[in-house]
């Protein structure tokens, strides 16, 4: 399976004369840093999905919003595709460059413009790192809630583009729930404010539409985020189970008891062992599954909730429940979970991280399905979940040096995502479609739904110059590579010729 841009099915791209474009840009924007030699371009050939690489035609590194605006106007006039990029930590290839396009790097916009503690918001440039916002707000006892695992490096502009999540989403929401306002530029250089300093804005909710639109509708130039008071205390319970099913049921039992944990994470035996070897978090290596349940808030409530959850977990058949004794142990429990991916990386030459979501009640079914698929494809799968919100991150273990293993891993991953769709879930919970899951979009949406997405795109970028080929597949791609979206027993795209 090749996910690189394929003009045959993804649509023809305009021909761009690199030398002519370069001289035009030098003349119009003399102080804009432009990279154009192969050796300078190479570091930008991929984002966090490093299996796929394309050297961009040019990389631009603007430092002023006016430069971005002028650049977009030129690109629009000359019909040059533009791929926006934040910190490049995305896991779905959303910032994968185009050979025939400009990579617009927004990372230098790294200033925090305002932290307003009375108004409980921070206004920042798009290249500011996620964690830097919480650090700037900390002296006021406030923080920015969404915490993707890449938060030390990822930029807030990229978070908006991907609607990034994290381990605390069930209680505190995704990026879309934590924004007040964004400033954007459309492909023709038009600036607009979406949302407002108040809690809502007149007109259509374009702020929600742009959040998670993967840089396809506009370029984010400023972000105003909500800040929340830091919870007074947070405590973590670690529960061991002798079966994954019991652990899965316990998750539903906690919710049924009326408790919304700050974080609720699950790991299976393979992940537990890999993590314990690496981090020594104190995980029980014999357990079939563990649950990490974090309860946060005001001291008295947290104490109460811990007792309730402890009782629920034991009633659900936990073989052992431990409350982290102190802050150090709590940090250690979390360190294990947060290092689960690199830990799995130590037991396998390569791994491929999936991001499907399912209704929680389907957890046992999905796990059984994954076990079967894992045997069928002859590849091990380690399971790590944001169990509270049904977001699974199965890690497929493979060795890229073994001929055919990468292809098998990709095929296995695609099957897992399609299983999620069949069970009423989604192919991506928080990593985005990007280029990686472009074919699986055909399983989740039918041709009419995809056509409507293309209509949304046309509203803001009729020529398709912003980040072409990402997020929404063409109907031709679905006809050729997509999985079958069988709707009411009818095959999709009857109007299209099969290749």
């Amino acid at each position: 399976m090749n996910i690189l841009y394929d003009e045959r099915v993804d649509g023809a791209l305009p021909r761009v004369d690199k030398a002519a474009l370069l001289s035009e840009l030098f003349e119009a924007l003399p102080d804009l840093e432009i990279l154009h030699s192969q050796e300078d371009l190479r570091p930008y050939e991929c984002d966090g999905l490093s299996a796929y690489r394309v050297v961009p035609m040019l990389v631009v590194l603007p430092e002023r919003i006016e430069q971005v605006q002028a650049l977009l106007k030129i690109c629009h006039a000359l019909q040059v595709p533009v791929v926006p990029r934040g910190a490049g930590t995305g896991l779905s290839g959303g910032a994968l460059p185009l050979e025939q396009g400009i990579l617009l790097v927004m990372a230098r916009f790294n200033r925090i413009l305002e932290v307003n503690h009375e108004g409980r918001f921070a206004r920042v440039q798009p290249g500011v790192r996620n964690l830097a916002i919480s650090q700037a707000a900390a002296p006021h006892g406030l923080y920015y809630a969404p915490d993707p695992s890449s938060q030390i490096a990822c930029s807030i502009g990229g978070n908006v583009a991907e609607n990034a999540g994290g381990v605390h989403c069930l209680k505190y929401g995704l990026t879309v729930h934590n924004l007040l306002k964004i400033e954007i530029l459309t492909i023709d250089g038009q600036s607009m404010t979406l949302g407002s300093d108040a809690l809502d804005a007149p007109g259509f909710d374009l702020l929600a539409l742009f959040t998670g639109s993967e840089g396809m509708l506009g370029v984010v130039t400023e972000v105003t985020v909500k800040l929340l008071p830091k919870p007074q205390v947070a405590r973590v319970l670690l529960a061991s189970f002798d079966s994954v099913e019991k652990a899965g049921r316990a998750v539903g039992d906690i919710i049924a008891a009326g408790i919304i944990p700050g974080g609720l994470e699950m790991m299976d035996n393979l992940s537990i062992r890999a993590t314990e070897d690496f981090i020594h978090a104190g995980y029980p290596v014999e357990a079939a599954a563990i649950l990490l349940c974090e309860l946060d808030g005001v001291e008295a409530d947290v104490q109460d909730d811990c007792e309730r959850v402890d009782a629920v977990l034991k009633a659900a058949g936990a073989t052992h429940v431990r409350l982290a004794r102190d802050e150090a142990e709590r940090a250690r429990f979390w360190a294990g979970r947060k290092n689960a991916f690199p830990a799995v990386g130590r037991i396998s030459p390569d791994y491929y991280c999936m991001d499907g979501t399912i209704p929680r009640r389907e957890l046992p079914q999905v796990l059984n399905g994954i076990t079967e698929l894992s045997e069928k494809y002859g590849l091990r799968v380690a399971n790590v979940f944001h169990a509270g919100d049904g977001n699974m991150h199965p890690l497929i273990l493979f060795d890229a040096n073994q001929p055919g293993e990468l292809e098998r891993a990709e095929a296995l991953g695609a099957q897992i995502l399609e299983l999620c769709v069949v069970l009423g879930g989604s192919i991506t919970g928080e990593h985005g479609v990007g280029r990686e899951k472009i074919n699986q979009m055909c399983a989740q949406f039918n041709s009419d739904e995809l056509t409507l997405f293309h209509a949304v795109k046309k509203t803001f970028d009729p020529q398709g110059l912003l980040n072409p080929g990402k997020n929404i597949p063409t109907l031709h791609r679905c006809a050729e590579f997509g999985s079958m979206h069988v709707h009411h027993g009818k095959l999709p795209f009857p109007e299209l010729e099969r290749f």
């Binding site: 307003n116 729930h177 009640r361």
Partner: protein, 350 residues
């Protein structure tokens, strides 16, 4: 008694008929939000024949229902399972429907702390301007596949399509709820709210009626008890919040036009002719005033907010900046090319 009925085919047929005959449609449930927006001329498309809760599993925290389902029925089902719609949507009439709740996008007193209607929308089924019944989003908490068309539908007043089904995230009710009344003036209330907003105090509603600050505290027994002890004040009947949400307080019976002002949290007292009632900890203020719309809108825009007239009027909603209006028109053109869905309800141009 429930009268579940799947009328999606009939609704689809009516839309396709309207598309063929180029007839404008006025989409409505019980018409409980008729006071908002511009008058629409068109054939009525009544969603109430398409009703019933399709699925509700309390442990999944998700409820899916058809657009014509009575909001009261949904709330009763949630209540029976100890859960709620955290955004506390106003009914504004006895027959309010789920579709109207989402299309109007109005949220109640808990909104600043819990989130708005759109924050709880997980998925929708929509009849589009191309005469298709499509599904966006889903029944899972996290889903970033494709554009977020579901949340775009919230607050769009039916101008982009006919909502036929909505999946909402729901939450358990808090274990403890106490409301208190504290005597202080508006200025003092706003500065206290700014201070408390930076602290983990379990406030879930805050309103000032001109005489006193009304607070609702929700959470576990411990946090609510300690907040009540710390804040003091007189115990308040929790019916206040329902009356506020449903605009039944005496304030709303005054004769002048009703305005909703949406403002940044840290906005001080706003000098305007007429009377004001604070909600959302100051981020939403109700104004009864005969002042000219441009005077009100000017004052509110200056501090970064906007004003909506809660009366059927040509200028109910705050006008949009020119480029933003152009993209609204483009979006309408793309999703409803024949302009049959509630034409002009939001703005004359869309």
């Amino acid at each position: 008694m429930r009268h579940d009925h799947d009328a999606s085919n009939a609704l689809l047929e009516q839309v396709n008929h309207a598309l063929n005959e180029r007839i404008a449609l006025r989409i409505q449930g019980s018409n409980s939000k008729a006071m908002l927006g511009r008058p629409v001329a068109g054939e009525v498309l009544d969603t109430r024949s398409h009703r019933g809760i399709v699925s509700y599993d309390p442990t999944e925290l998700v409820l899916t229902a058809r657009a014509g389902t009575a909001l009261a029925e949904i709330e009763a089902a949630l209540d029976a399972a100890g859960q709620m719609l955290p955004c506390e949507p106003p009914h504004l009439g006895p027959g309010a429907t789920l579709g109207g709740m989402v299309a109007a996008g109005l949220s109640g007193p808990r909104r600043p702390w819990a989130g708005s209607v759109r924050d709880f929308v997980l998925g929708t089924r929509v009849i589009t301007g191309h005469g298709k019944l499509l599904r966006f989003g889903g029944e899972v908490m996290k889903n970033v596949a494709g554009y977020d068309v579901s949340r775009l539908m919230a607050g769009s007043f039916g101008c982009l399509g006919v909502l036929t089904e909505v999946s909402l995230k729901v939450l358990p009710k808090p274990r403890k709820c106490v409301s208190v009344r504290l005597d202080m003036d508006v200025q003092q209330a706003l500065s206290k709210l700014a201070e408390w907003g930076q602290q983990p105090i379990p406030i879930s509603a805050a309103s000032h009626d001109g005489a006193a600050l009304h607070l609702r505290l929700e959470g576990g027994e411990g946090s609510v008890a300690s907040a009540v002890e710390r804040l003091g004040g007189a115990v308040l009947d929790s019916g206040y919040w329902t009356d506020l949400r449903e605009q039944r307080l005496a304030f709303f019976t005054r004769p002048a036009p009703l305005w909703r002002l949406s403002l940044p949290y840290n906005t001080g007292p706003l000098e305007l002719p007429g009377q004001q009632l604070l909600d959302w900890g100051g981020a939403q203020r109700w104004l009864k005033s005969d002042a000219a719309p441009q005077v009100i809108r000017q004052a509110v825009s200056c501090v970064g907010g906007h004003a909506t007239l809660h009366e059927q009027d040509d200028r109910s909603f705050q006008p949009l900046a020119t480029p933003l209006l152009r993209y609204h028109q483009n979006l309408k053109q793309q999703l409803d090319p024949q302009g049959i869905f509630n034409p002009g309800r939001l703005y004359a141009e869309i």
